[in-house]
Symmetry: C2
Subunit: 203 residues, 2 copies
């Protein structure tokens, strides 16, 4: 009679336990994990590169020139570290790069041990929180820097000042490139956090 009891469906908790132990995963489940892992690692590598590129392009941005203002020839020397917003961009991009590198190292260790890269729900929530915080920070630093560089480009309207980017065009172009990399990094971190939510919602 015992043999004839209906097959037990896995409960929600059982499903989590299976994922956690990482042993009794079916073949399609394993394939799904592998796709997931590949996406995760790819996003981390590209994000690390974007953050690094953003930092390097920004810290090499400096230019000397002259600006004529009401008949005066003012010497203008522009360097990234003169603007708080650009400092902020370098700081945040570097931090996001370190975050990506650490996650990449932890993921590689997990993959070498052939275990799934997210070990538990708590781990997934932590990853989600980290990715969200860095995505918001990257969005913030990119926007702050582009607000400032846009002001440099268009001049300051409320006191008829000239366009700073005319004499300093190479500086402004470098800054714009660095900002573009920061926004790209933000997008990648946002995608990472969506992947974390997919994990949380599926397992």
């Amino acid at each position: 009679m015992d043999m004839k009891t209906p097959p037990e469906y896995p409960t929600i908790k059982d499903a989590t336990m299976t994922v956690e132990s990482g042993s009794a995963v079916s073949e399609p489940g394993r394939k799904l994990f592998r796709n997931y892992d590949v996406m995760h690692v790819t996003l981390r590598i590209v994000c690390l590169s974007a953050s690094l590129a953003s930092v390097i392009v920004m810290i090499t941005a400096k230019q000397k020139s002259t600006l004529s203002l009401y008949g005066f020839d003012l010497p203008v020397y522009s360097k990234w570290s003169f603007s708080d917003s650009f400092d902020y961009l370098v700081g945040v991009s570097a931090a996001a790069g370190v975050h990506s590198l650490l996650q990449l190292l932890m993921t590689s260790r997990m993959l070498l041990k052939k275990s799934p890269i997210i070990s538990s729900r708590k781990h997934a929530w932590l990853l989600f929180a980290g990715d969200q915080v860095f995505a918001y920070a990257m969005m913030s630093c990119g926007s702050a820097a582009s607000g400032v560089t846009n002001l440099n480009r268009t001049g300051i309207k409320h006191s008829s000042l000239p366009n700073f980017c005319k004499p300093l065009h190479s500086f402004c172009d470098r800054v714009a490139l660095s900002i573009a990399f920061a926004f790209f990094g933000c997008f990648l971190l946002a995608m990472s956090s969506v992947l974390d939510v997919v994990w949380l919602s599926e397992y």
Copy 2:
């Protein structure tokens, strides 16, 4: 004999179905839903208020003054619409306000029908996407505006210009208040998207 079969555990799919139909929810489940609904509605109302406050404080920001620059007395008239970043902040805050209002109306309709405010996984994903987009947008506009206002406050270092906020302090204070409301709105939208993830991960 039928009466003695072991109690059937709900499967993952069953749990989703129960939530979707909104009929056979147990008492603790119902309480959880109610707490969830209350948090959701509260967040929406506060977010709507923050966005509105941000828009209103910004569009009433204007001031006339004079600024002495190298011995010249320049007339300075500052208005929010002179800066692209401030225009951007007003646009995004208004859009986030409309988003919150629409969500609030839809939630109220659901609550009046006594059904759960999130009807399906697709709905939860849509809400998550919307909240994320507006949270990033609010972070972006707040940062862009604060980058510009910080530049106004500290002067522009690469060409020794004076502090604009000394003659225009009331304007700068209003802008700072509006930016603070925008950041608060961003925080609330981020919390809303976390609530959406909680829903996705639990049901």
